[in-house]
Symmetry: C2
Subunit: 209 residues, 2 copies
Amino acid sequence: MPILEDLKWRYSTKKYLDKTISDENVFIILESIRLSATSLGIQPFKVFIIEDKSVREQLRIASNNQSQITQASHVLVFAAWKHIDNNMIDAYIHLIAKTRNEELVSLQSFKNMIVQFVKEKNPSEILEWTSKQTYIALGKAMFCAASLKIDATPMEGFNATQVNTLLNFDIQGLHSSVILALGYRDATNDKLSHKAKVRRPASEFFESI
Amino acid sequence: MPILEDLKWRYSTKKYLDKTISDENVFIILESIRLSATSLGIQPFKVFIIEDKSVREQLRIASNNQSQITQASHVLVFAAWKHIDNNMIDAYIHLIAKTRNEELVSLQSFKNMIVQFVKEKNPSEILEWTSKQTYIALGKAMFCAASLKIDATPMEGFNATQVNTLLNFDIQGLHSSVILALGYRDATNDKLSHKAKVRRPASEFFESI
């Protein structure tokens, strides 16, 4: 079962080699994110690829100085929408109509449903919901990377306020949700790379009803 | 690029055939969830496999009567931990020690870090954080299913309070986070199965800095 071998092979990489992921593989990982499912299909987030060295340095400082931020080949910041207004919903409805060659009128009830869904949530509930959608994509990107034998580090340990400021998210209505570093493990210097994966046994983790 | 073909093939299935996923494939999907990364590695959730027909019927009622709940081959409910106490942290630390044959004393600083992390969060922040971890696993399970050409429906549209009561989650300190139906699409009757996937173009979804 190669799928499970890939998933057992992966771990949260602490130290990376100075080795760059090929453009083709970067494309595949980004596409796995872009194709990811989101609730209502609205894709309420953007993904920033941090290439600038100086921005990487500052991002590292805002991330408890975790070295992966500057060492990894690629660093992605998932930025969740902080609010959803009618223009954003309209843009999505128009995208559906265009992609599927459908009449806008046939999408009216779906649009009304989204408007109602959003109206029932306060700003913090909206952000919680949009952030969760980034985590589905995070899971997909990690799975995709493992399938390509590319290492990854999902990272929550950063100061979101500082990252929002650094990347000008506030003015764009975005909030830094989670970071994913990608690259190739430095197996010689990353002692974690040789340690057994710690997971509860299936008998404790699953329950049939 | 077979990975991307699988991800393009998948969609949020609305109608399922009466066809059961093999035990081997169920095992692989469940393992993809159990092996999923979680923040701090603590796996703050459980996954329930709903097999009982009567429970499925009631779950469907609590889920806006979405037919996938009773039609799909398998239905998983991700149940996030509502709180994290010292016993749970201790159990995790002991699991690390046992799995890696390490001394407990060498894990003390990691344990202290988790205790501090939890202490700084209020109950709703804890639940938000544990729920997000289930979404990583959800993404992995969906990717895994697509790789096996098994269809899936991620579902948020349920009454969490009702589901918590139905599945006795309250007494277990759990909260229903998200549901995943799994099975085989009924392509003849599911009109969505033939529609184009709607995603924003990469130029709008990604940004390099």
